[in-house]
Symmetry: C2
């Protein structure tokens, strides 16, 4: 390849590994065929006006179509906007308009979500073989119409051209958009792979692995797998809608050795596996990995590494075993679920409220600040106010809270906005939630900040009790006292108030919907 | 780090791994201290006029001084010119003038080589604590004079700024210069490391390795170790002048696990080791690895990988074990000494004389063409004619000859200019030399092209006989007939003429000096 641009990664894979498989459900393509399809698409789209800088929204599952569109649009110098189908319709529409999407490519299953946008976006492509609405082009007809030749534009695309835009799923305010250049998203994606190859860990990755991402493409291009798997020339296994049972079948049939997923997906996969072993390397993150889940996964043969990052910073840190730790030990099991090290090229600082680095004592909480070559050059797209608050002097202030160990490992304990600030000190709600969720009668728990005259804020715990169990405040207080005695939490972290509810609402991303809870409890500001 | 620029790699190492050691002979520094020294140097040099674009020649051994200068000059946006102390004085002077060196930094041991340049370069720095000539500044005084603060220039250096210039040791014509930008040399260097981490091989590299390059810095910055070792935050062991015995002592004392070297250096290290085992991972290349040497090294515990590349293309391909090959097998031993695969991001084609890819049959010879994101943007510096002959359409025509196997592995058999073109077909002299050198009475052998009326060229073998042995043409012809029977060489490759000499002359880089031989035999054009 000549430059760090997306389509050159696929071109290289097609030339070097023409027959290496990209499996997509029941479809099977070689990289050469995927490349051929991307060239056809680019040719057909170019003839219809897609060109340098055109923003194209894609609302699809993790199909081969979505995968090849990554490269077809790159060939034209266009900008891909992977749409988050889990966003509420109003937010989805907001991101489409805010990004300036001139084209929408939509899979039938999401037709309803985009129906309100009909008159507002001009060009539509329907991503399946079914009934294509009158106003839309058909994806398969585009594929047939295009010629498999490299467009002139392909050679003019620069590594510094904007290539992708996507949005946070922030629970407060409108989603925030980030535009990344080719070199940003490629360096960040490769950095994940290189970390997994250079350091010991549970999700080590090498050229002989077979990769099946469970993370959707709209989350940082499936955490970079859209780029780093073809870069490696490795086998890629995709699927569209698939139950955990079907996923397990694919893992077995295709010899999958490596996957990525959030803890909820890991939970579902383990449930589906039942008594069967699941020897799989898993990169996990997005929310804390509960201890019980980690233990169950480990016992079944899953080996995992935790990743820390986000849409507005990309990959920042991944677990890695310190020298001398036996990778099969209990120490490794705990380490890989908890502590992370900056990925190659990234740097992290944890600062106290005076902007000074916190001591490396593994206990003092500060805010995570990140520096890397792939931070979005303009910060948040078209949002100077929120940009100023988060990006400055080459650093990104993440709003996440962490402690640092002597060897530089980080433990990200909470989001700053979720933490409780009591007497000027942070109480990390995630740590309290983790402690409370170990009680056998607790199904789910959310810790919220409650205004307090004396302390500013004090914690309040909202508890969903497991069906068939009973639980009261006194029992939970006693349980937390034990955790205090074990040194797991501080005494002054124990919540002032406990609320018991039938069900804790979740966000579109499967996280605790704290905003809704605050509103219901009258705590919203 | 913010950008792919050299000094940010050291900055990150200093912050993340402040106490990780850089050993330089008897000196021991942490990365933080090396960073501090680089800052002081940059400050002092800045005050004396070194700035953006200033070209600084460095004539030194692989010392900590040379290492820290890599970063001090980067901080100022200056260009480092690592000088090849093995070049003949006239060529050395040519490269200094052609590159436009405004500063020379010289180690005392090389004073004589640069004496003729006294009036021609304005600014001199003397790189040791001994007697400093009147006209030169002292390195240690510069270090004392500078303040350890980041210069303003550091933030303005771009990844696309020129950072380094160095020269080929071409045996034909003047050395050719290449200027590389920060991102070129860094991506190429990291690509070596990533290949060694992503693929199985003898010289696998990981974060826990201890690195001691034997390749001098003037050869592509010690084959990229100047950048990829601090990038990894790993321990780096350097030395100035050291006998193989001293090198062995360092390997043992410092726990060195990984090194790079040309086959001649490997030979010397093995000789020095005597009966001792040498469990070391070695990246080797620059010239073919003779079978006997490979076997001796392997038996002692050395595990190697062959690398293919050059000053005008940087890293291109490295050995990697195909799936299923036992890394301890004889198959692995032969594979890792012979076949190479393109490193991440690089691409290779082998073309016949019509510019078509040769069949992937492992037998048909063609010319190697290379594409990668780090080819020198302007081709050969200030040399449009030779640039046009070698760089076009994003490809570099290497002039090397290779065969390709079905899995895409390459076997680089010869330099085109060294090959014999007989009846329009190439006879690779390196393969003939390898076959002949297996004869027990052959000390060294060089195969040359001899003008021939009928075939254009025919091979001529110049043979240096091992002391105490006797050998004649008939014996060698019979020996080569055996190789023909084994399918190792073609019958028509057998040389038409054999010359026996007392000693074959070597070039400054330790390669067969074919130009001198041709001249002596009256074959020079």
């Amino acid at each position: 390849m000549r430059r760090l641009v997306a389509h050159e990664i696929l071109g290289r894979a097609a030339r070097r590994h023409p027959d290496q498989l990209v499996v997509s459900g029941e479809h099977r393509f070689g990289y050469a065929e995927i490349h051929d399809r991307a060239l056809r698409l680019a040719d057909a789209l170019s003839a219809r006006g897609v060109g340098r800088g055109t923003v194209v929204g894609v609302l699809d599952l993790n199909s081969h179509r979505f995968f090849e569109l990554h490269f077809a649009l790159s060939l034209l110098g266009a900008v891909i906007h992977p749409l988050n189908f889990r966003l509420p319709p109003a937010d989805l529409a907001y991101t489409i308009e805010h990004a300036g999407d001139e084209w929408l490519m939509v899979w039938t299953g999401f037709a309803e979500a985009v129906a309100p946008l009909k008159g507002r976006v001009k060009n539509w492509v329907w991503l399946d073989e079914g009934t294509v609405p009158d106003e839309a082009l058909s994806y398969s007809e585009l594929l047939e119409a295009g010629k498999p030749q490299e467009p002139d534009s392909a050679r003019q695309v620069l590594e510094t051209d904007v290539y992708t835009i996507f949005y946070t799923t922030g629970t407060t305010g409108r989603p925030k958009g980030m535009r990344y250049r080719h070199q940003d998203i490629i360096l960040a994606s490769l950095s994940i792979l290189h970390h997994l190859a250079l350091y010991r860990g549970g999700a080590e990755a090498h050229a002989h692995d077979v990769f099946m991402p469970l993370i959707p493409f709209f989350h940082i291009h499936a955490w970079g797998t859209a780029f780093f798997v073809p870069y490696l020339g490795a086998k890629l296994v995709l699927f569209e809608r698939a139950t955990p049972d079907v996923q397990l079948g694919l893992i077995e049939r295709e010899g999958v050795t490596w996957s990525n997923m959030v803890p909820t997906q890991l939970h579902m996969l383990l449930e589906a596996a039942g008594e069967r072993r699941l020897p799989l390397k898993v990169l996990t993150g997005g929310s804390p990995l509960p201890k019980g889940l980690a233990a169950r996964a480990w016992a079944k043969g899953v080996r995992y590494s935790l990743i820390y990052g986000g849409s507005d910073q990309l990959a920042t840190a991944i677990a890695a075993l310190p020298r001398g730790v036996d990778p099969e030990s209990d120490e490794a099991r705990a380490e890989l679920a908890t502590w992370v090290f900056p990925v190659p090229l990234a740097e992290v600082e944890v600062l106290d409220r005076d902007g000074k680095p916190v001591p490396r004592d593994g206990r003092t909480i500060g805010e995570v600040r990140v520096q890397s070559p792939w931070l979005p050059p303009e910060g948040y797209h078209n949002d100077p106010e929120r940009t100023q608050a988060s990006y400055s002097g080459g650093w990104f202030a993440s709003g996440d809270l962490a402690v640092v160990r002597e060897d530089g490992a980080l433990y990200v304990v909470d989001r700053e906005k979720d933490a409780v600030k009591s007497g000027g000190e942070w109480i990390p709600s995630a740590l309290l939630e983790a402690a409370l969720s170990e009680h056998p009668a607790v199904a789910q728990v959310a810790v919220l900040a409650m205004p307090d005259d004396r302390w500013g804020e004090r914690p309040l715990a909202v508890v969903e009790v497991r069906p068939g169990h009973s639980l009261d405040e006194a029992a939970l207080r006693a349980f937390l006292q034990e955790k205090v005695a074990e040194g797991r939490i501080a005494r002054w972290w124990i919540p002032d108030r406990f609320e018991f509810v039938e069900e804790i609402p979740l966000t579109s991303a499967g996280k605790l919907h704290k905003a809704a809870l605050k509103k219901a409890l009258g705590l919203a500001r």
